[in-house]
């Protein structure tokens, strides 16, 4: 079942075009990763999905009653404690007081924030505030779960816990959409990847369709801003590029023409 569908959606702020003709659907149980450079329109797509923003043209259809959203940065000057905030959010979602309390504590425990449950929100560190934002999104099993760079600021333990939580949500039927810059996270979490380039949806592929190129540098090439490259990792032994399979040939040719050497070319499977 399709939970949300963007039909020929465009978004403009004044004369600036943020999105152009984006056509994208999201099914229940799917984990969609939106990738692309900064300013490519990923966050705008997410805001359109949850109804925080309205399209300048086109249509957004949502078939979800319970919608959860995690913004890219969660800041709060609230004197409410994290657990009290979550209890309130649970009550707003229609949970009983007891259910809201139990679920809050369970999520805080899983995200390793149980010790900070009574800390006022305004005193939480960036990572812990992010955990609270994630917990509120998962209080009630959502039908549509939208997260803007949810891994930002999380420690290693919470990193993998979040991946598990999102997978569980999808297994329970939630349609999950998130943005992320780390190719490793995208590969290990998403069931589908959509790439945005300056407001246009350029590629839709499965993570298994990614190719990793391990190269030894030659003449100067700016891979960070190459339109096909999803991720650049620099190692002692060279540079590792991640590209959609099918687009890697052209990048490979460019590298060879500039005197770069190829160590490996391998298709990447989800972990």
């Amino acid at each position: 079942m399709e939970v949300v569908r963007l039909r020929k959606v465009s978004k403009r702020y004044g004369r600036r075009e943020i999105l152009a003709d984006v056509d994208l659907g999201l099914d229940a149980g799917e984990l969609l990763a939106l990738v692309g450079a900064n300013g490519s329109g990923k966050s705008t797509v997410l805001r359109l999905m949850v109804g925080l923003s309205q399209p300048s043209a086109g249509k957004v259809q949502r078939n979800a009653r319970v919608v959860s959203y995690v913004p890219d940065v969660f800041t709060s000057h609230d004197r409410l404690s994290a657990s009290a905030y979550l209890r309130h959010m649970g009550r707003i979602r229609g949970l009983s007081t007891r259910a809201a309390r139990d679920r809050s504590l369970e999520l805080l425990d899983r995200l390793a924030l149980a010790g900070g449950a009574d800390t006022p929100m305004r005193k939480l560190s960036k990572g812990n505030a992010q955990k609270v934002a994630l917990a509120q999104a998962l209080l009630d099993p959502p039908q549509l779960l939208v997260l803007d760079e949810p891994w930002a600021g999380l420690d290693a333990t919470a990193h993998s816990t979040l991946r598990d939580l999102l997978t569980e949500a999808a297994d329970q039927g939630a349609a999950v959409a998130f943005t992320e810059h780390s190719a490793d996270v995208v590969r290990s979490t998403a069931t589908r990847v959509c790439e945005l380039d300056r407001g246009r949806l350029t590629t839709v592929h499965r993570p298994a369709d990614l190719t990793e190129l391990h190269l030894i540098p030659g003449a100067g090439l700016d891979w960070d801003h190459h339109p096909d490259v999803l991720d650049v990792r620099r190692t002692d032994a060279g540079v590792v590029l991640l590209l959609p399979t099918g687009r890697h040939d052209a990048a490979l040719l460019t590298a060879l023409n500039h005197g770069w050497s190829v160590v490996t070319v391998r298709q990447v499977k989800p972990e």
Partner: protein, 218 residues
């Protein structure tokens, strides 16, 4: 809606952001109405002025209290920015109730007045009208509409001056005119009730305008 209201009220109460406008209101009452032996309705005219300034400040403080990102979460969770705004206004109105009671009782306790039920009704209608107009101004000068706090403060001050100086711009000037005309309270009850209704309409329009303007920024 009640859960949302409880959340916003608890959050605002813990923040203590209501304190500065409340203290200003109490100070204004103490300065302007203590030991006043003139007509009670004239004291209530002063309360209207204090209530207008206090509720404008209070509305700006309460609306700005929730961080923008936190508010986005609340809006998505609730499913409607209008419902969040309505609940926010309900929180401000709740805080206005004790202020209104103080505004009604303080001049009577500290001054020498002959008090009738009609006087109290007139005072309540007048201050309610002022409170709703003040909240309307506060909403339109909040962060949801005006991003810069300095500009918002100037806009709020200009709006308060405008509603005090321009006769038919809002119900405030007519309310103060009616309270100062030295007619018996019974004769002023109907026009002041009507002006309070106009203030309620003004507040509703301000809520809708704030919603539209805030949504357009997204």
């Amino acid at each position: 809606m009640s859960a949302l209201y409880r959340y916003l009220l608890t959050s605002v109460l813990l923040s203590q952001r209501y304190l500065p406008p409340t203290l200003i209101f109490l100070a204004a009452m103490a300065v302007g109405t203590t030991s006043d032996n003139g007509p009670l309705q004239s004291s209530y005219a002063f309360c209207v002025l204090a209530m207008l300034v206090c509720t404008t400040w209070l509305a700006v403080s309460v609306v700005n209290h929730e961080d923008p990102t936190q508010r986005k979460i609340t809006v998505v969770t609730v499913g409607s920015s209008l419902r969040v705004l309505t609940a926010t206004v309900a929180v401000v109105v709740t805080w206005c109730v004790p202020l209104l009671v103080i505004g009604l009782v303080y001049p009577i306790v500290t001054g020498k007045h002959t008090v009738t039920a009609a006087d109290l009704a007139v005072g309540a209608a007048a201050q309610l009208g002022a409170a709703m107009t003040g909240i309307a101004i506060g909403l339109l000068c909040s962060r949801l509409v005006v991003a810069r706090i300095g500009v918002a403060m100037l806009a709020a001050a200009a709006a308060i001056l405008a509603v005090l100086l321009v006769r038919w711009m809002s119900p405030i000037r007519p309310i103060m005119t009616v309270l100062s005309d030295e007619k018996p309270a019974g004769a002023n009850a109907v026009p002041l009730t009507l002006l309070a209704v106009v203030s309620a309409i003004l507040l509703t329009a301000a809520v809708l305008a704030t919603k539209v303007l805030a949504d357009r920024k997204e």
